[in-house]
């Protein structure tokens, strides 16, 4: 609400200032100076000379300068307040977004490390399976006894189970994709919000110089996409401390299953 009020104030004050500047130029140049054209320096100087020579016009000029000065000060004050509102509403969110983006980096790095560790262990298990198979082949060549072969089979089964578990753990590691997607969706929604606020201020400055087409263009942004982003986003999404957060759940649900309905 405050931002809207400030925006409207700023717009009306800017228009008033422009009108005063226009009036001042007319006063200085008289009616001969063509509008919307840059005044030639000689014409300007002649107008100034005429103004200075006429005490009534000097008084008028001083008065006009004072009015413009007041208007400019008012406009600058409104700008300062607009900037303050923008700063207050966006700085904290932008800083939080920065932290979230850093967390995305550390989450992906940590997930990549976990997966590399898992792959290393999986490769070691495959090496052990190869060694076992090689031992089996050597044993078959030496006509090894049945007891030794049974031990090898048990060991092989154990390693395969371990390998299966390692691969399954790798699959669950991929949850980082969902977590980082939510963090990025949130960051993206914040940036879209900041962009919208900045665009409103830019439109405010443009309003005095264009026919309003730009503001219509600005409103045609992807609002639906933003809504979808926000719906899928969770600012608290994190790979950290999952254990302690689950403990809070268990405390509330009493470690039991509850009942439907």
């Amino acid at each position: 609400m405050e931002t809207r009020r400030l925006t409207e104030d700023l717009l009306s004050e800017s228009e008033a200032t422009l009108r005063m500047m226009d009036a001042l130029l007319e006063e200085l140049g008289g009616t001969e100076a063509p509008r919307n054209d840059v005044m030639e320096p000689t014409v300007y100087l002649r107008a100034l000379q005429e103004t200075v020579a006429d005490p009534e016009r000097i008084a008028l000029l001083s008065n006009a300068f004072f009015r413009v000065h007041v208007a400019i000060i008012g406009t600058l004050e409104a700008l300062r307040r607009s900037r303050g509102v923008l700063e207050r509403t966006t700085t904290e969110r932008v800083q939080r977004t920065q932290l979230k983006l850093r967390e995305v980096t550390s989450t992906t790095e940590s997930a990549a490390t976990d997966m590399l560790d898992g792959l290393d262990r999986a490769l070691q298990l495959i090496d052990r399976l190869d060694s076992l198979a090689q031992g089996d082949a050597d044993g078959a060549g030496r006509k090894g006894d049945g007891g030794e072969s049974g031990q090898t089979e048990d060991e092989g089964a154990r390693i395969r189970a371990e390998l299966r578990q390692e691969l399954f753990t790798l699959i669950t590691c991929l949850q980082f994709q969902d977590i980082t997607a939510q963090q990025l969706s949130w960051a993206s929604a914040v940036l879209a919000d900041v962009e919208e606020r900045l665009e409103k201020i830019t439109r405010l400055f443009n309003a005095g110089f264009s026919n309003g087409d730009e503001s219509a263009e600005g409103d045609a942004g992807g609002g639906k996409d933003d809504e979808s982003l926000i719906a899928s986003a969770d600012p608290s999404a994190s790979m950290l401390d999952a254990g302690s957060r689950q403990a809070l759940v268990d405390e509330i649900f009493g470690g039991g299953g509850g009942t439907a309905g």
Binding site: L174, D178, S236, M239, G256, A260, G261
Partner: protein, 125 residues
């Protein structure tokens, strides 16, 4: 036992279904958001595993709507989500969720929660 897995992330749906298969539950269907889940749900579904943050209809809203339906009162529901504040967990419990798992989860935690819900609902029956 038939599971309905609801999550807007394809990766998460695959991970959850993979975990369920590992635990021994192989009859799974899936939905990408709450609206699709409400369409796909019928009396043959015994268990729903759902995310919270989803476009169109979120997980919490889906649970509320489901609990109002005649055929949705008894289905077991576990919410699997990144949201973990006390208020969120309480809101989910009040909406009719049977249990709650915080992402990222391990398959062991998911199994534990499914077993707890099954034990509690069979006692209630």
């Amino acid at each position: 036992m038939k599971f309905l897995v609801v999550d807007d992330s394809v990766t998460m749906r695959r991970i959850i279904i993979n975990s369920l298969n590992r635990i021994g539950y192989t009859d799974c269907i899936e939905a990408a958001d709450g609206a699709e889940a409400l369409d796909r749900f019928d009396a043959s579904v015994d268990f729903i595993i759902t995310d919270w943050n989803m476009p169109t209809v979120g997980g919490l809203e889906m649970v509320r709507r489901l609990r109002e339906r005649e055929d949705g009162g008894r289905v077991r529901i576990i919410m699997v989500t990144t949201r973990a504040s006390r208020d969120d967990i309480v809101a989910a419990a009040q909406a009719g969720v049977n249990n709650y798992v915080v992402k990222p989860f391990t398959p062991q935690v998911l199994k534990e929660k499914i077993d707890q819900v099954l034990a509690a609902t069979s006692r209630a029956d």
